[in-house]
Symmetry: C2
Subunit: 246 residues, 2 copies
């Protein structure tokens, strides 16, 4: 059988793969299988980082695949983002049309504050939906909560995830959920700490930096007892209070 | 070497393991390893169900382990829940003290609307924190979103998870997040549909029943175009609207 010819006759496939928070054993079995059977892997690297954290997480599963590191913009500039991800989408499309199996890997879950959003937005204009497959993954907040043993939500509780950057929105959120997860807290550590202390929530706040990333992880189970180093990947979990049993 | 004697000298360990939404390949590599190396597996089964969905999801990874199916109460009665889970905690403790490796498996993620909450609450009074290990898992809402290709959140967006059962709280939530995930929607399908239609959100709502559970999954990409069968494990994703780029 002519494998190359056979391949060209079949349509390719595109997979947006959540690889979890960073530990190689927190990929799902499906993510491992998709990565191992891919012809090409697109691996994101932030323009602010020397190294792709995603690449480190998948290293045990990479052997023969073509690996393309894509340096993506970190500024909230839609035009720049569209141009950057549009170019990746074109590369993906070219390989798809040649019948190849292409995977983009992304830290965490593809649906939650992920680079896959941008690639998906570009790809959905180029490909039929059935050509695209999304593999869910463990998000950073889940890994963070597990590491500090902080249960998030049961019964009638509401769980709210948001970036910590807008502190007015954070203050409003205390009234609107039982558990609050704040991303990107590293940029606003001091004012956030002050706000939490003022509301009596500091001792109900845990923080995790670089959850499940070997050699970088920092765990703070009670923010009122420990100071917190600054870091881009800082997740703060505030147990605001639990709704009573129905 | 006397394996039994050696075992008894070492402390045991307890693992609360998220196994994802139901597909055996959506367990993480770590979850598979912990399950395969466990001496005893505690597997929850709802008193309303003939079969443990969790047991089906882990079936490929079970061989020699002792498997204890725990039928748990489904009423929001704290005393009954405490009694039921307290009894499981005693069984876990007995095995831990004999140096065994014990895992409780739970669908989804242990921190999010999970049976592990109740067992953890009982165990933390009996065991030192370092004896307990939490393995995060893919939650149903992540699997649901992936199946209907619904990106949840980027940039400054807020993502709110809550049960659909209190419709007043649901109506208030529309003003407070960019994406709303509603669990347990099966009980309130008709009034929820009416509420979403009134707010112009029905065509922005996707629904998934039994995400990634073989033979049971139902996907509704746009609720304004399809009716929705009732089912206990129904997740509705409402894309309320996205915050503008900063």
């Amino acid at each position: 059988m002519n494998v190359v010819g056979d391949r060209a006759a079949k349509p390719g496939s595109v997979h947006l793969v959540g690889i979890g928070p960073g530990a190689p054993d927190l990929l799902t079995v499906r993510a491992v299988r998709v990565i191992q059977s891919a012809d090409t892997l697109f691996v994101p690297r932030s323009e602010r980082s020397d190294e792709s954290l995603a690449r480190r997480a998948i290293a045990p599963y990479v052997s023969h695949q073509e690996v393309i590191e894509h340096v993506y913009p970190m500024t909230p500039d839609q035009k720049r983002a569209d141009a950057s991800w549009g170019a990746v989408a074109e590369q993906v499309l070219g390989r798809y049309e040649r019948g190849l199996r292409v995977a983009q890997v992304t830290l965490g879950d593809p649906l939650i504050y992920s680079t896959s959003y941008y690639l998906f937005s570009a790809l959905r204009r180029l490909l039929p939906p059935e050509a695209i497959h999304i593999v869910p993954g463990v998000s950073a907040f889940q890994a963070a909560g597990a590491r500090v043993q902080r249960m998030l939500t049961i019964q009638q509780d509401r769980l709210l995830l948001m970036p910590a950057t807008d502190l007015e929105a954070v203050a409003a959120a205390f009234e609107r959920c039982e558990t609050l997860v704040l991303y990107k807290a590293g940029r606003v550590l001091e004012p956030l700490r002050t706000l939490l202390a003022k509301r009596g929530l500091l001792e109900r706040s845990a923080a995790v930096l670089y959850a499940e990333q070997e050699g970088r992880e920092v765990l703070v189970e009670d923010w009122s007892r420990s100071s917190l180093p600054a870091g881009y990947m800082t997740t703060v979990i505030v147990s605001v209070g639990r709704r009573p049993w129905a």
